[in-house]
Structures are given as structure tokens and as C-alpha cells.
């Protein structure tokens, strides 16, 4: 579980801490950086997955505009696998570059558990440590990418391996039903941020634990009137089409996934997240999951994921503006991102203004929340 994210010198995030719980609702007006937190998590995931080099992930336009500071710092505090993990990486942007020292480079990358080192990279040199924290090998490494993600799992580095696997499995989604494809050409381990490859991910996921698929099926029977099943039909060699089958007056109606409404596709995605990803123990950040979903479907989904997460499965961070979500989660799990006229972003726990009997959504709409007085509004 991600407990804390610290970001310094990344867009409008300057020396900013975000504390997270098993369930967190990230609130705030437009332009207060809510999605930037998700963006940083994604980039750290790319960094550690070795998908791209540092200069492609942390481009110079991610530096905070009003500062002239060349170093960006990111920290993660994570609980899991029997310990507390602390990861930090410092990225430096330089004006000149050489073959040995690229323009954008990692000057420090550290992973500790319970304050003892597991991995240390500094000044181009990697120091590895075993699970018992005894010193392991040292070797030089490319400043231009993360060394942590390149470590081969072994019997004596299971803690490090667990952390890397956790970060690689972290899922950030900005559901975009109109862009969700129904054609599958390969299996995907992760759903893409814009959810376009949902079908390819579901093709892989549904071939695994059938219990999760049965639960999803039961949910969708309740949610989508006449729903029978999700199926794949062959569409050529190693190609499939995701299809939703319905019954209407005793007749079977088979629709390509792309023929469903945006709201129906959004609901299938949301219940799939609840039934597959959270039970795997993943940290999932959903950015505006309520888009396209009808009012009467939001609370039932929210209550379902509440029960799953409180039951000990996974971690869920919601970024939302929706009143239904505010009124359920804001009081107990709300964090507000605030920003004063293009200045740095700050976060605080949501609190209702004392002595006012307004539901959180109404209080936010009026700007009558919390200590700052600005509440979720007032950034412009």
C-alpha cells in the first residue's frame, strides 16, 4: 500500500507531500494538480520498468516553471510484504551532456526497508544489499536509466523484488470509454492509462482466476439489463473480438464491445477493476471514474469497492469531482489539493466547516469547507 508520495520540482508540485490511505479520495478544483500526482506515479513506474530512458520520462518541461532548480526529487513510502519500504530518486537536468553523463540523469536512487538499505545508486555506482541488509555486489551503471528495475530476482533479494513488482503492478487509469477497443491482438498485463486496451487485458485476466470472472459476471448481470456474458470470438489468426451477449425476449443479442454505450463500457471496466485488480492487492488510481456513468450506478459501485478494499484487498485512490463520491468518502477519506494563483500545490485532509450541516458536495460547491476557507475551489 502506498502511504506517501513526495514530489519536489515537478510542474506545480514543489516540496509536496501526499498522504494516502487504503481508500483515498483526492479532491480539488481544476488545475490543482490532482492528475499530476497520477502522472508522477506513472513516470516512476515507467522509470523502474525500463520502458524509457530518464530523459524521455522526465523531460525538461516537467521542471517547475517559476524555479530555476535543476534537480527533481520523488519519494514513495510503501507498506507491504512484511515491512515499510522507502524509495527515492533524484533526477538532474543539466545544460550540457556527454556520452558518460547524459543531460538528464539519475544522481541518486535508493530503496530501503525499515530504514535499512536494499539498493543504493549514487554517482554512477550501484550498491546492492541482501534481504538481511548485508552488503552485496557493487558495480557502475548508466546514469541515464534506473538500475533498480534491472535487478534479477534471487533468493536473497525478495524484498527488493517485491517492491519492484508492486510498482510495476500499480495501475493508473483515466477511463475513456469511446477509445476502448474491442479487437485483441495480444494479451496485456496492464490496462493502459486511457483504457484503450481493456479487451486485451481482459483476454489475459479472464483466462486466469475464474472466480474473479464469475464475480464480474454476477455484477454485470445486475448492472446491465439482459446481460448474459462477455465472450471473445475469433477474428483471424491470434485475433479476437470482445463481445457482450444479451438476451432480449428469449433471443440472443450479440454486440461487439464497441457497440455498447460509453456508460456500459465504463461500468464493465469499473467492475472489472473491482473484481480483478483490487483482489490481486494492487494499488489502483482511478482518475474521474464516474465519467459516463449514470447517477444511480455510482453509489452501488462505490460501495462494492469500499467493501473489497476494507476487506483487505488492494488500495484505491479516486480522483473525482462527483457529488456522490464526495458524500460517501470525503468525510472519512478525503484529501484536498489546493493551489493559490499558479503557485505550488498543497494538500490537506478534507474537513467540513464546523457548525454547518451541509453534505460535503454542497459544501465544496459553495466553497465552504475546511480550514483554508477555499476548500476544493478557488485555485484560479
Amino acid at each position: 500500500m502506498l502511504k506517501r508520495l513526495y514530489i519536489d520540482n515537478f510542474r506545480a508540485l514543489v516540496n509536496t507531500d501526499l498522504a494516502l490511505e487504503r481508500r483515498t479520495l483526492l479532491m480539488g478544483a481544476n488545475g490543482t494538480g490532482k492528475s499530476t500526482f497520477a502522472d508522477v506515479l506513472l513516470r516512476l513506474q515507467w522509470l523502474i520498468s525500463g520502458i524509457s530512458k530518464t530523459d524521455e520520462i522526465f523531460t525538461s518541461d516537467t521542471l517547475t516553471r517559476w524555479q530555476n532548480v535543476p534537480r527533481q526529487r520523488f519519494e514513495l513510502d510503501v507498506t507491504g510484504s512484511g515491512g515499510d519500504y522507502h524509495y527515492e530518486v533524484v533526477v538532474e537536468h543539466r545544460k550540457t551532456a556527454s556520452a558518460e553523463e547524459p543531460r538528464t540523469r539519475i544522481v541518486r536512487e535508493v530503496l530501503k526497508t525499515d530504514s535499512d538499505p536494499l539498493f543504493h545508486f549514487e554517482e554512477g555506482l550501484v550498491h546492492l544489499y541482501r534481504d538481511d541488509h548485508s552488503a552485496g555486489p557493487e558495480y557502475p551503471f548508466d546514469w541515464g536509466r534506473s538500475a533498480l528495475g534491472t535487478i534479477t530476482p534471487r533468493g536473497d533479494n525478495q524484498k527488493l523484488t517485491w517492491f519492484v513488482r508492486w510498482l510495476r503492478g500499480l495501475t493508473v487509469l483515466r477511463p475513456n470509454p469511446p477509445g476502448m477497443l474491442d479487437l485483441v491482438e495480444r494479451d496485456d498485463f496492464l490496462i493502459a492509462v486511457d483504457t484503450r486496451n481493456f479487451a486485451a487485458w481482459y483476454h489475459m485476466a479472464s483466462s486466469g482466476d475464474k472466480r474473479h470472472d464469475r464475480q464480474l459476471h454476477d455484477d454485470l448481470v445486475d448492472v446491465l439489463p439482459g446481460f448474459d456474458a462477455l465472450n471473445f470470438e475469433a477474428a483471424g489468426p491470434n485475433r479476437w473480438l470482445l463481445r457482450a451477449d444479451f438476451s432480449r425476449s428469449g433471443e440472443k443479442v450479440m454486440l461487439r464491445f464497441g457497440e455498447l454505450s460509453d456508460g456500459q463500457r465504463a461500468l464493465i471496466l469499473l467492475y472489472a477493476v473491482a473484481r480483478f485488480l483490487l483482489p490481486e492487492g494492487r494499488t489502483v488510481l482511478l482518475d474521474e471514474p464516474d465519467n459516463y456513468v449514470s447517477l444511480d450506478e455510482i453509489q452501488p459501485w462505490l460501495l462494492s469497492v469500499t467493501d473489497i478494499v476494507d476487506g483487505g484487498s488492494g488500495q484505491l485512490v479516486l480522483v473525482s469531482h462527483h457529488p456522490e463520491i464526495f458524500n460517501q468518502w470525503a468525510e472519512s477519506h478525503g484529501t484536498v489539493a489546493e493551489r493559490e494563483s499558479c503557485g505550488p500545490i498543497r494538500t490537506r485532509k478534507f474537513s467540513s466547516a464546523p457548525g454547518v450541516e451541509l453534505l460535503p458536495a454542497e459544501a465544496v460547491a459553495r466553497g465552504w469547507t475546511g480550514a483554508s476557507g477555499a476548500g476544493g475551489n478557488g485555485s484560479q
Partner: protein
């Protein structure tokens, strides 16, 4: 929009209490979340209670006029007051809104823990506490939210006929109240 409607409405001072009662209702009435509407009060010292009391009369009125079969579960912490005091406040809220008092056949249940819901969570998950101790402040359970599911199942068992009466008086009262939903 679908053609379903809410079969049970839960009004609670806080989310955790709402979740406990909702989990109980899911089990006892064999419903899913799509048949339950959960309303959580805004927090703030004293505000949550006032909000629940205000909503209570609105909800009773709406249920009586529109959906008489819809169940209503109302949660209020008694804090250090007697449980009867909150029950009387609920009755007074109905009277103040010009409505008749609650009838014995109405599916309207009051869930009023003495002290707080966390007291019930402790007892229902096997941690022995009394109604004088502030379990929430003492953190008598390491994770109250994680205890909700287990506590709700235990609460369901205790509402079955012939189940032994619980040691906490406020919980015993709530059990007979919750049985109204199944009438």
C-alpha cells in the same frame, strides 16, 4: 437509468457506521448494493447528529408517501447519553415535522450504540469492552474499517432466533430494532 429502486435506506452519522449496517442489511435481506441507498452525515461537532435527525423525518415522510415497503435504518451514536435519549430525539423529530410516531409494523429501525459504533465493532469481533470505554479513542482494534465485514456477519447471527443475547445493552436493543426490517 435502470428501473430498480432502493429497498433499504441507511442514514448514518459516519461512513463506518453506515458500512456496518449496510453489510448487515446485505446479509439479512439478501440484497445487493444496488438496492440500498446509504446516506452519510457531514461531520463536525454535533452537526452529524442534527443532520441525521433532520433527515430522519424527511425520509420517514418520503417512505410513507412513496414506498411504504422500503426499509429505513437510522444510526445515531448515543455517546455518553442513555440510548433512550437518542430514541426520544428521533421521536421528537417526527413529531416536530407534524408526523405520527413510528408504528410497530413500520420497517424503520434505530441503531443506537452507547458510546459509538466502534464499541459494537469491538464486541462483535470478540474484543470485550464495556459501554463506558471510548474504544475509538483507545484504538481497541488496530483497524476498525477492516473489522466491519466480520462484525456485520456476527450481528446477523445475533439477530437470528435463539441466538444468545449480547452482553452490551445497546446492542441487544439494536438487534430487536433490526429485526423490524425482516418483518
Amino acid at each position: 437509468m435502470s428501473d430498480r429502486f432502493a429497498e433499504v435506506i441507511i442514514l448514518a452519522e459516519d461512513e463506518r457506521s453506515g458500512n456496518l449496517l449496510r453489510r448487515y442489511v446485505l446479509r439479512a435481506l439478501n440484497l445487493d448494493n444496488r438496492r440500498i441507498r446509504q446516506q452519510i452525515a457531514p461531520s463536525g461537532k454535533g452537526d452529524a447528529k442534527q443532520w441525521v435527525l433532520g433527515q430522519y423525518s424527511n425520509e420517514v415522510s418520503a417512505v410513507r408517501k412513496l414506498h411504504r415497503k422500503t426499509g429505513l435504518v437510522v444510526h445515531l451514536d448515543a455517546d455518553t447519553d442513555p440510548v433512550n435519549r437518542r430514541a426520544n430525539q428521533l421521536a421528537a423529530a417526527l413529531k416536530a415535522s407534524g408526523q405520527d410516531g413510528r408504528e410497530s409494523t413500520e420497517r424503520v429501525s434505530h441503531a443506537i450504540p452507547r458510546r459509538e459504533t466502534e464499541t459494537w465493532l469491538c464486541v462483535l469481533t470478540g474484543v470485550q469492552v464495556d459501554e463506558e470505554t471510548d474504544c475509538k479513542r483507545k484504538r481497541s482494534l488496530p483497524d476498525f474499517d477492516a473489522a466491519v465485514q466480520r462484525a456485520a456477519l456476527k450481528l446477523y447471527e445475533q439477530t437470528r432466533a435463539n441466538a444468545p443475547a449480547p452482553g452490551l445493552p445497546s446492542l441487544a436493543t439494536a438487534i430487536s430494532e433490526l429485526q423490524r426490517l425482516e418483518a
